[in-house]
Structure formats: C-alpha cells, structure tokens
C-alpha cells in the first residue's frame, strides 16, 4: 500500500543516486578531463541574449569506441552544449557519451597546404592493399627453396 512517497526506501534505483531522482540537481557533469578542458576554453563573457559560441559535437556509440564528429551547435556553455547535443545529434542512433569542444579550441591546417597530402610517387606500401597476396608469395618462395634443397642445395 502507498504511504508517504517521501518515505520511499527505494529512491532512484535505476540511476544509482542516493537522492530521489526528481529532487536531484541534474547536470551533465564534467567528470571527463577533456570536458574540463573544454569548459576552461569556453569564452568567459557569456551573454545569454547575444551570440552564443559554436561547439563541435562528438558522439560515442559504444563504450571503448572512438568518438566521431556529429556536427556543430550554438550554446552558451559546455553543459548547455551537451544538453542540446543530446537531442540534436544523439536522438536517433545509439550513444553512450558526448564530447563538446568549443570551436576556438580547434587548430586546423590550411587548404592552401592540401598539396602536402598528395602522393606524387607510388606509396602502395603504406596501403594494406599493397600487401595483398604476400602470404602466397611467401609460400611459393618456401616451396621453391625446398625444391632447391632437395635438388642438392645451393652451390
């Protein structure tokens, strides 16, 4: 039978907090070191009624996997950025963790330097595809060596 709901001895089991979940202060806590850095990097003078900063949003679909860039949004601070990122970028697919990074914390290369990334000579050896068939070649080499040994070895 229901008694006084405040006397409920089973507060908020599902979330593992020791306060009833409706009286707890809900924040996206910056427990992650990177988020602390992000918060420090946020502009100090935030004016709620003027332009908000840009935040880059990264979504982690599964624990242990890479965070991948999902998009950009406007927010006055890191907590609001994560709060808004949840519905803007994590409402459809799976997500277990969000990073937000203030845009001005990102350093970028220049497009004028894009020629640096071009390959002017054959660099197939850097591509896994360049190593296709290597096992077969090794096997053939071993067999050839075996044949030569049976025929009397090298002179």
């Amino acid at each position: 039978m229901y008694g006084d709901p405040t006397a409920d001895a089973d507060p908020s089991v599902a979330f593992g907090h020791d306060m009833p979940f409706y009286t707890r202060d809900w924040h996206f806590d910056p427990y992650h070191q990177r988020l602390t850095v992000a918060r420090r990097g946020a502009p100090d003078a935030v004016h709620f009624d003027t332009e908000w900063g840009n935040w880059e949003v990264f979504i982690q679909e599964k624990r242990g996997e890479h965070h991948t860039h999902a998009g950009t949004l406007h927010a006055p601070d890191a907590e609001m950025a994560i709060m808004l990122a949840k519905e803007n970028y994590a409402r459809r697919g799976p997500c277990v963790n969000i990073w937000v990074v203030p845009e001005d914390a990102i350093a970028a290369s220049a497009y004028e330097d894009a020629d640096m990334f071009e390959h002017t000579t054959d660099k197939m050896y850097r591509d896994p595809a360049g190593f296709q068939g290597l096992r077969k070649k090794a096997q053939a080499g071993k067999e050839r060596a075996g044949d030569e040994a049976a025929a009397g070895g090298n002179p």
Binding site: Y2, P5, A9, A14, F21, D25, F28, F48, H74
Partner: protein, 265 residues
C-alpha cells in the same frame, strides 16, 4: 512503501475497474495534450537547437500518451488509441487544465513543461510500486525519459531565472499565471480513494506535497518564488470541466481525422 498482494483486474469489482480506467485516462490525456501544446513550437523555437530539443520532448510526451492509451485498450476495454485521441469531445477529456492552456510566450511553455515534468517524474516514480503490474511496468519505463526532461528544464530555468531582469520577470509571471492550474494536476480522478486503498495508485495529495517541495527547491536556486500561499488550485479537468481552449485545441488536433477517419500515413 510495503507491497500488497497484486491487484487482479479480472476479479476486481466494477467500481475499482472504472476507477482504474479513469486514472489511466487522466495519465494519457495529460501526456497527449502536453505533447501537442509543446509541438506547437516546432519551427518557432527561440533558437534552432532548442527548437529541436523541445520538439523532441513533445514527441516523447506523445509517445507516453500512446503507452497509456494502449494500456486502456489492452486491459480496460477502451477502443484503439487513435479513437481515444481523435474521436472524443472536450467533455470526455480528463486532463488537468494546465496542459490545455495556450502555449503563451516561451517562458510560459518552459515553466508549464517544468511544473508538468516534475509532477510526472514524481508520479511515475511512485507508480513503479503499483499493485497492478502493467501500470508499474509502464510507469517504470516512462520514468526513465523524465531524467532528460528534468535536466533540460533545470538548465534553462536556473540560467534564465538568474541572468537578467527580463528573463527573470517573464519566468515569474508565467509561474504566477500557471501555478493554480499546475496544482490541478493533483486533482484526484473519480474513485481514486478505492485504488489507493488497494495499493494500485499513490494518493494525489501525497504526490502533491512531494511536488511542492521539489518545485520550491528549484525555484529557490533560480531566484524565483512559488506563489503557493496565495492561490487555490484550478481544478475540474479530471471531471471533464474544461476551458474553451481545449475545444479549440481539439478542433485543430482532430481536424484531419474528422475530415477523413480512414486516412493513414
């Protein structure tokens, strides 16, 4: 809270059955109309990101309504969820008046959403212990989505309440205007006392006390005050007595279904 014997619907007296149906209908109607009102902001939100977040929460609420209407259809002899939502006149609705009021400015919608979500979080939290298992299971499921709703609302109310006179005053005006109707969320449905005696639902009066405590705490952190001492609850919704706003809202919400009941999409 001690557990009683499970409530067996099949052997329950007709009165208890009717009381349970009225209770679940109120849950469903509260959720659908809150969701529908909030969906009126889609495309009009104060900023793009909040437009999307608020619309998403409106969809959550419509999803909650579907859970409750389905529960009525599966266990309590009600027609399909669509028929419950689209073939009912204002007098048949059991929502609290709070959720039928016009959306107002954004402060009004945000404060309504905040007062509503705290109430529903408390109610679903308590209903997890219902002696009627289908109700306990559904409440436990919907409770989980309230976590983000609370977080979203708190983030805005705390910031807007403390960041300047204009935003503070708008929130306070919205609170003053909505508080009586918010208290109406705790108007008992017909036969509630019989259900509380069986451990099927939590007493509304007890939920209301917890709600007041939680609301006061948030408002105190936000530089706002609850006009509790000065207001009487605006009730009637649970008996089908509604404002004209509900009729106008249903005209819009049901217009497609009225014009073509067989329409699908």
């Amino acid at each position: 809270m001690t557990t009683t014997t499970p409530f067996d619907l099949a052997s329950a007296p007709a009165e208890a059955r009717a009381a349970l149906d009225a209770y679940v209908l109120a849950l469903a109607d509260d959720a659908l109309l809150q969701g529908h009102r909030d969906s009126e902001w889609t495309g009009l939100g104060p900023i793009l990101e909040e437009d999307i977040a608020f619309s998403s929460m409106a969809q959550d609420e419509i999803g909650h309504a579907l859970v409750w209407y389905t529960l009525r259809a599966e266990h309590l002899g009600a027609p399909t969820p669509d028929e419950q939502a689209f073939r009912r006149d204002a007098a048949g609705w059991r929502n609290a008046r709070l959720v039928e009021l016009p959306r107002g400015d954004y402060a009004t919608s945000l404060i309504r959403r905040t007062l509503f979500d705290i109430a529903k979080a408390i109610q679903y939290d308590a209903l997890r212990h219902s002696a009627w298992p289908p109700l306990a299971v559904a409440a436990g499921k919907l409770r989980q989505e309230k976590k983000y709703h609370l977080l979203h609302n708190q983030a805005y109310v705390r910031r807007l309440g403390t960041s300047g006179a204009d935003s503070h005053d708008r929130l306070q005006s919205a609170l003053d205007a909505l508080f009586p109707a918010a208290l109406g969320l705790f108007e008992p449905t017909t036969g509630e006392a019989a259900l509380t005696a069986l451990g099927v639902v939590a007493p509304s009066a007890a939920l209301s006390a917890v709600w007041l405590g939680a609301v006061r705490e948030l408002l105190a952190q936000s530089g706002l005050s609850a006009p509790i001492a000065t207001v009487a609850p605006d009730v009637g919704g649970r008996r089908g007595e509604h404002t004209d706003d509900l009729g106008a809202m249903l005209d819009a919400m049901q217009s497609l279904h009225r014009s073509d009941p067989e329409a699908t999409w």
